[in-house]
Symmetry: C2
Subunit: 341 residues, 2 copies
Amino acid sequence: VRIASVGEFGLIEIIRRSAPGGRRGTTGRRSPAGGVLLGIGDDAAILRPTPGFDLLLTTDLLLEGVHFNRNYASWVDVGYKSVTVNVSDIAAMGGIPRAYIVSVALPSDFLVEGVRSLYSGMRQAAREAAVVLAGGNTAFSPGRVFINLTLVGEVERGRAVTRSGARVGDLLFVTGTLGDAAAGLDLLKREKKSFPFLVRRHLRPTARWREGRALSRIASAMIDLSDGLSSDLRHLCNESGVGAVVGASLLPISRPLTAFCRLGGKRPIDYALCGGEDYELLFTVPKRRIGDLEKLVRHGAIKATPIGRIVSRRRGCWLVDSEGAVPLWPGGYDHFRSGRS
Amino acid sequence: VRIASVGEFGLIEIIRRSAPGGRRGTTGRRSPAGGVLLGIGDDAAILRPTPGFDLLLTTDLLLEGVHFNRNYASWVDVGYKSVTVNVSDIAAMGGIPRAYIVSVALPSDFLVEGVRSLYSGMRQAAREAAVVLAGGNTAFSPGRVFINLTLVGEVERGRAVTRSGARVGDLLFVTGTLGDAAAGLDLLKREKKSFPFLVRRHLRPTARWREGRALSRIASAMIDLSDGLSSDLRHLCNESGVGAVVGASLLPISRPLTAFCRLGGKRPIDYALCGGEDYELLFTVPKRRIGDLEKLVRHGAIKATPIGRIVSRRRGCWLVDSEGAVPLWPGGYDHFRSGRS
């Protein structure tokens, strides 16, 4: 069934039914899920903020053919990722993700089944991050599919971790492993069925919100890796007014990425530095808080690898390997120059 | 200059510069504008909620060729309207609009000047509603221009006016005049330069947020008129579980609309019932609060016209004129069936 035949209001009903709690959200409950008092179906959603918390607000748009490609991403994948990339932004502030609203523009020959898949992917990622669908907007698109998500999060008053708090002497860490998602995308483009771990890292990235939360009292600055380490490190350094030295041999590379590169004659470090969409967290920790971080790692709350340290802005950003130091340039994606996916 | 040549980060810089307060928002001020502690340039914006207030969240997307047409809307118009339609949603909840975030997808041959115009239109509408740009997202679009705005507002805890509070016996009111915007759109389609009032009502609609605010303690239910009176009244009635009787002769029609209809052999009532995008407020008032409403009207705080009353759901929705009563059907736009603009 095409969405043209159910109309806009029919479509909204399908979306409503896909939201747990139904149309009225969770009104009346003493602790409404995600703080949502009123969800889909009014002029605006109503959320009850947690006293003593600041509000975090982020938005990301996914455009067919730019941010995802229907040749290899299912609608469930697309829905999943649209939530995850926003949860990742809240994670990078040390916040708790709460609720999201979605705008979609769909062609009129889009199938109702596709809508269900899209929202089922969102719901899956939302459940993993304990966030609630609070509302949205639908429209007819004469062309491609547009999906825009806005996610609201919360963080203890004044405790948000920004990009601008890194200081000279802080150590630089990253969660998880680097470059997997970009390798996964290369595999998908070549229609390879091998290396499911890498493919999954591209199609179903993990938002590190538990890690971000655990780091909120330890990290001096934090950013999520969407454009690639070299680009995102540059953002963090620019905003903090510092430089950085990164050790090439320290970068965490997964076994599948190593194996994939060996087969294809590629270098894992290129993926690790320039590959986008890993959605790992890059963060800095003042030396006096390293003990706290070690405790978190020991207790299994987070997996983090030290990859370098913060130096003065004057010294710039460098990659150090066995042969010496080379300037580290943003090599990640600049969407307007190169496109994406 | 085309945006392709400045790149995504260059584009973000242009947008940043268009935001009052610059990149860091208004950090450090004792009463930050719109509650925005940190604006464009981090993983998420940080807002400080007003203690004792609930949060309102709304989103609206504008798609080139669907919601606006470049043949007659300038980029300033489009930017202006993208903010206004969201402010109108917050108005309809009786809330105070606070801050907004914007996602745009632009073709790479889009001009930098167009970006400045678009954001200048947003800024103009934002200034009028005292809201602040808090962040956003940009992407390359292989096709049309896509704009999505999310607006955050606030309302005293538990005091949001929903669509579901209308009760049998309440009186039905509308702010301003009806049908002007749809007539303005007809004029634009026919490239007429006459009736500037009607054209302006389409291109630069006014969000009734001061009125919505004043009504927040008086109205039992409220909705903003985006799809047309007959459609939006139906939404209000459905959500409240009631019916309504509307007097045809009571509908507020502007002099320009009357003149325009006389010239073109059209009926103002068709525009008033079915014309979309007036962004006036439709609201219900319990009889015991009518005195409070009259006071507001007398003091010039709002212009409101009584157009009917709420009856039981069983009785349905009716339009009454000198010849009798006819059932009132949703005649407003259903975007997926008919498109818009």
